[in-house]
C-alpha cells in the first residue's frame, strides 16, 4: 500500500452527499427536444455535418471535429434536426453559441455500432483515433479533448495514470455512483488508457467518505491486468483538484506553469474512463452522462443518466423542482460551479451536477466587511498563496505585486472565500485580476507588434534613403572623376561629339549604345 501525502490548507464544508442518494442511477428519459451546442469542449467548435430538416439516428455524426483540438458531436437519440441557431449555453457569462436543435421522435433508433474485439492487440494510435471519433472530452469539468491529452507531445516518459474519483465538491455524487455501479467499466477504461499511454501503473484516488465506491473499485481493480491501486485518503476540499490529487498520491508538485505530463503523470476522470471503454469495446460515441440533480428545492434529487442536450428545465421537472423559494440554479457544485441565469440551457459533456438549493440552504451572501488580514484564507489556500495580499493588490490593480504573489497559481477553488469571516468574494477579485493581466499582456503583444512594424518601416525607409543617397553620391563621384580625368574639356563640345558618334553608329546600323 502506497502512503498518501498531505496538502496545504483545505476546508471541510458540509458534504451533503447523502441528499442525492449515491449508488443508484435513474433515467432522465428522452425530452421532446435536445439542444446540442457545437462547442462542449475546450478547443474549436465542431463542423456541422447535417442540415435542418434532416432525420438522424442515435449515434449518428452531427458535427465533425475541426482540427486537432476539437471533438465531434453525435445524436443522443433519433429525431429530426429542426433548427441550427445561436442559443444560450451553460457558461458563467450567459453567452449564446451555435446549437443544433433535435426534435426527438421517441423511438430511440440507433445506428449499429461495434468496437474492437480485442483492444490489447490494437496500436495506441488506432485507439486514440477511435476515442477522438467518439467525441470524448474530459468529463470532470474542464472538457479538454481526451484524445489530445493522450497524444500530447510527451516531455517526460509517462509512468502513472491517475483516475480522479475524489469528487471533493460537496453535493456531487455522480462519480461516486459511477464507481459503485460501473467499477468494472472504469477499470477496463483505465486499462485501455494505460495501454495507450504505455504507463506501468494505475492509481485510483478516492476520498474516504465513499466507502461503497472504494470497496467496489478495490474489487474491480483486483481483476485488472496491470498494477492497479485504489488509494483512499482523508476527505478535504479541494483534494480533487488535479494538482492537489497528484501531490496527495505521489508527494510531488506539478511545477508552476507545467502539466502533470512533466512528472510522467496523466489524470482522467472515472466518467471519461467509462466513455473510453464504451467507445473502444462497443464503438459507442459519447451521447449521455451521469448528472447529479440535487439541492433541497428538488423533490426527487438523485443521479440521473441524461442525454446530452437535455434542457435543464426538463430535468428540473423530472426531479420535481418546487420554484417558490428558490433563488439560485448552479451548474456544477457549490464551491466551483457557476450560477445559471436561465434554466433553458442544455446539459453538455462537462455538466456533472445541477444544484438547486433553497435560500436557507445556501443563503445569499451578506455585504462584504473590511478585510482584517486575519489570514484564515492563507490557512485554507491549497496553493499556499496569500489570498489576503492578493486581495489588496487586486483592488489596487498592482500587476507587478500580483505576479510576484503568484496569482496565476490560484486554482479558484473558493476555499479562501468560504472561510473569509468578512464575506469578501475573494475569488471574484482574482478572476477579475487575472482578466486584467491577460488583457494587458495581450495589449502588450499588440503594441509590441505594432512597434515592431513601425520600427521595421522606419528601418526600411532609412535603408531606402541611404541607398538613394549612396547612388547619388556614387554618380556625383563618377562625374567628378570623369571631369578630373578629362581635364578642362568643354561639356558642350563633349555632348556634340557624343551626338555625332551616335549618328554615325546609327548609320552603320549597329547598336547605338
Amino acid at each position: 500500500m502506497n502512503t498518501v501525502f498531505g496538502i496545504h490548507g483545505g476546508i471541510h464544508p458540509p458534504e451533503e452527499k447523502a441528499l442525492s442518494n449515491p449508488g443508484t442511477i435513474l433515467d432522465a428519459g428522452i425530452p421532446p427536444t435536445l439542444v446540442l451546442p457545437l462547442s462542449q469542449h475546450i478547443g474549436k467548435p465542431s463542423n456541422l455535418e447535417v442540415g435542418v430538416g434532416e432525420h438522424v439516428l442515435g449515434g449518428q455524426l452531427l458535427a465533425a471535429a475541426d482540427g486537432l483540438v476539437s471533438v465531434p458531436l453525435h445524436a443522443p437519440t433519433s429525431g429530426t434536426v429542426t433548427a441550427i441557431e445561436p442559443r444560450p449555453v451553460p457558461h458563467p457569462s450567459g453567452m449564446e453559441n451555435i446549437c443544433l436543435e433535435l426534435s426527438c421522435d421517441g423511438r430511440a433508433q440507433w445506428l449499429d455500432t461495434s468496437g474492437f474485439a480485442n483492444w490489447t492487440e490494437e496500436k495506441p494510435e488506432v485507439l486514440v483515433e477511435a476515442i477522438r471519433a467518439a467525441g470524448i472530452a474530459g468529463m470532470g469539468g474542464a472538457g479538454f479533448p481526451t484524445a489530445v491529452k493522450l497524444l500530447a507531445p510527451q516531455r517526460a516518459p509517462m509512468h502513472t495514470l491517475i483516475i480522479n474519483g475524489t469528487e471533493c465538491e460537496p453535493y456531487i455524487t455522480a462519480d461516486d455512483t459511477l464507481m459503485q455501479v460501473e467499477a468494472a467499466c472504469i477499470v477496463e477504461g483505465a486499462e485501455i488508457l494505460a495501454h495507450i499511454l504505455g504507463v506501468e501503473r494505475i492509481l485510483f484516488g478516492v476520498e474516504d467518505n465513499k466507502p461503497a465506491a472504494l470497496a467496489a473499485m478495490k474489487a474491480a481493480a483486483d481483476g485488472a491486468g496491470r498494477p492497479c491501486e485504489v488509494m483512499a485518503f482523508p476527505t478535504k476540499y479541494p483534494s480533487g483538484g488535479e494538482k492537489q490529487l497528484i501531490e496527495i498520491l505521489t508527494g510531488k508538485q506539478v511545477p508552476t506553469g507545467g502539466l502533470p505530463a512533466d512528472l510522467g503523470i496523466v489524470c482522467q476522470n472515472p466518467g471519461t474512463a467509462v466513455a473510453v471503454r464504451d467507445a473502444i469495446c462497443d464503438g459507442k460515441p459519447l451521447t449521455d452522462r451521469l448528472v447529479t440533480l440535487t439541492g433541497r428545492a428538488l423533490a426527487r434529487p438523485g443521479n440521473y443518466r441524461v442525454r446530452l442536450g437535455t434542457p435543464i428545465e426538463y430535468l428540473l421537472q423530472v426531479a420535481g423542482f418546487e420554484p417558490k423559494e428558490n433563488r439560485r440554479l448552479i451548474h456544477g457544485g457549490p464551491m466551483m460551479g457557476f450560477a445559471l441565469e436561465s434554466s433553458s440551457v442544455p446539459v453538455v459533456k462537462t455538466t456533472n451536477c445541477i444544484l438547486v438549493p433553497t435560500e436557507q440552504e445556501l443563503p445569499t451572501p451578506p455585504p462584504a466587511q473590511a478585510c482584517i488580514r486575519c489570514g484564515l484564507c492563507a490557512e485554507a489556500c491549497p496553493a499556499s498563496l496569500l489570498p489576503q495580499q492578493l486581495y489588496w493588490y487586486a483592488r489596487a490593480r498592482d500587476q507587478e505585486q500580483l505576479e510576484r504573489h503568484h496569482l496565476s497559481d490560484c486554482i479558484e477553488c473558493g476555499a479562501c472565500s468560504w472561510v473569509c469571516p468578512s464575506h469578501i468574494p475573494l475569488v471574484q477579485y482574482y478572476r477579475a485580476a487575472k482578466g486584467m493581466i491577460a488583457d494587458s499582456k495581450a495589449e502588450k503583444v499588440r503594441s509590441d507588434r505594432s512597434r515592431g512594424r513601425f520600427e521595421a518601416r522606419q528601418e526600411r525607409l532609412e535603408h531606402e534613403t541611404a541607398a538613394r543617397e549612396a547612388q547619388r553620391a556614387a554618380r556625383r563621384a563618377a562625374a567628378q572623376k570623369k571631369a578630373a580625368e578629362g581635364g578642362a574639356e568643354d561639356p558642350v563640345a563633349a555632348a556634340i561629339a557624343r551626338a555625332k558618334a551616335k549618328k554615325e553608329a546609327a548609320a552603320n546600323e549597329s547598336d547605338p549604345s
Binding site: H8, P13, P92, P170, K243, K252, Q253, V254, P255, T256, P323, R327, R328, I330, P334, M335, M336, G337, F338, A339, L340, E341, S342, S343, L355, P357, L362, P363, P365, P367, Q369, A370, C371, I372, R373, C374, G375, L376, A378, E379, A383, S384, L385, L386, Q388, Q389, H406, D409, E412, G414, S417, W418, V419, P421, S422, H423, P425, V427, Q428, R431
Partner: protein
C-alpha cells in the same frame, strides 16, 4: 424563470468577523478576572467606561465620514480596541485619561487611516503610547496588589474615575520597576526582600499573565490566530532573558520566567501582536514579527527608559510589517525547487 447570478463559491463557512471580535473579547475574561481579583474593580470600570466612550466615538466619526454606522458598530472591532486599551491602562485612572486614550485610539489609531482593516498601527497601542508619553505620572501609578495594600471597592473605583482629585489610592512600584531600579541586590535577595515579588514573578502579576496565556491558548485552539507570533515572541524574550540573566547577579536583567510572567508579556503576546491588521501577514512573517517584538521588548525593559515596552515594541514593528511581508511569502504550490528524485 430567472435566477440570481452570483459567482462561486456559493456556500460559506460559519465564521464571521463579528464572531472573531466577540471571541477575542471573550478570551480576555480570564485575564480581566485576574486583574480584578488582584487589583480591584478598577480595570472593569475602565473597560465599561472606555467601551461606552469608544462606541459613541465610533458612531460620531462614522457619521462624519458619511458611513452608515450600524453595520460597522456591529462588527465589535471598536469594543476590542477599547477593551484592550483599558486592560493596559492603570486601574483607577481618571476619566480624562481614559477618554484621551480612547479618542487617540479610535480617531488617530483607526479612522484617520480609513477605519477597520486600513490601520497600519495597533489602535489600542497608539492610544496607550499617546498617554504614556503625555501623562507619564498617571500612567505609572499602579494599585498595590491584593495582600500588599487596601483593596478599593466599587465606590472607590467610581470616585477614582470621575472625581480623581478626591481619590487617594495605594500605589506601589511594579516588579518591573523594581527590577530596573535594582542596583545592589542579587536576584535572589530582591525576591526575598521585596514584598512585591511572589513565587515566580510579581505578586498578582504572575497570575494575571497566566490568565492571559490561558485566554490566548483558547483563541489559538479556536483558530482565531496562529501560534507563530506569540511563540516566537515568548521564545525570543526568554532567550534574551537567559542571556542577560547573568546568573542572578545584581546586574541581572531578570530570569526568563520573570519576563514571561511580568507586566504585559502574555497580554501582548496573545492579544496585541496577534492583531492581524497591523502585524505581518504570512506565518513566516509572523514568526519574524514576534521574534523581533520579543527582542525589542527585552532591550527596552532592561536597557531603556521604560519598565515595560510592549506598546513601543509593537508600534515599531508595525512600521516594519509591510516590509517583512515582502520577504516572507510562503512557497506557492509548484514553486518548490525540483529535487533530483522528482526528475
Amino acid at each position: 424563470m430567472s435566477f440570481l447570478r452570483i459567482t462561486s463559491p456559493h456556500g460559506h463557512g460559519p465564521m464571521t468577523t463579528t464572531q472573531v471580535m466577540q471571541m477575542v473579547l471573550l478570551a480576555t475574561l480570564p485575564g480581566v478576572a485576574a486583574l480584578t481579583w488582584f487589583f480591584g474593580p478598577g480595570t472593569l470600570i475602565n473597560i465599561a467606561f472606555g467601551g461606552a466612550l469608544a462606541l459613541a466615538c465610533e458612531y460620531l466619526v462614522l457619521r462624519l465620514r458619511n458611513r452608515e454606522p450600524t453595520p460597522y458598530l456591529k462588527d465589535y472591532s471598536v469594543l476590542v480596541t477599547s477593551t484592550l486599551l483599558c486592560i493596559a491602562l492603570p486601574p483607577y485612572a481618571p476619566w480624562w485619561l481614559v477618554m484621551t486614550g480612547i479618542l487617540a485610539a479610535v480617531i488617530l489609531g483607526k479612522h484617520v487611516f480609513g477605519g477597520l482593516g486600513y490601520n497600519p498601527f495597533n489602535p489600542a497601542m497608539v492610544g496607550y503610547v499617546v498617554l504614556l508619553i503625555s501623562f507619564p505620572l498617571q500612567m505609572s501609578s499602579w494599585q498595590a496588589p491584593r495582600g500588599l495594600g487596601d483593596m478599593p471597592g466599587l465606590s472607590e473605583a467610581l470616585t477614582a474615575l470621575f472625581l480623581p482629585a478626591t481619590y487617594d489610592g495605594v500605589t506601589m512600584a511594579t516588579p518591573l520597576d523594581l527590577l530596573r531600579q535594582n542596583k545592589g541586590l542579587l536576584m535572589e535577595d530582591l525576591y526575598q526582600q521585596t514584598p512585591q515579588f511572589g513565587q515566580w514573578a510579581g505578586v498578582g502579576w504572575e497570575w494575571v499573565n497566566i490568565a492571559f496565556l490561558a485566554g490566548g491558548l483558547w483563541l489559538i485552539y479556536r483558530g482565531i490566530f496562529t501560534w507563530h507570533a506569540p511563540l516566537a515572541m515568548l521564545v525570543m524574550l526568554g532567550l534574551c532573558a537567559a542571556i542577560g540573566f547573568d546568573s542572578g547577579s545584581s546586574e541581572s536583567g531578570g530570569s526568563p520566567l520573570l519576563h514571561w510572567l511580568s507586566g504585559a508579556t502574555m497580554f501582548g503576546a496573545f492579544f496585541i501582536i496577534t492583531d492581524p491588521v497591523s502585524g505581518a501577514t504570512s506565518n513566516r512573517g509572523r514568526l519574524l514579527f514576534g521574534a523581533l517584538v520579543g527582542i525589542l521588548l527585552y532591550l527596552i525593559r532592561v536597557h531603556g527608559n521604560y519598565p515595560d515596552a510592549v506598546a513601543f515594541a509593537v508600534l515599531i514593528l508595525n512600521f516594519a510589517a509591510p516590509f517583512i511581508d515582502q520577504y516572507t511569502q510562503p512557497t506557492t504550490y509548484g514553486h518548490r525547487p525540483i529535487k533530483e528524485d522528482d526528475e
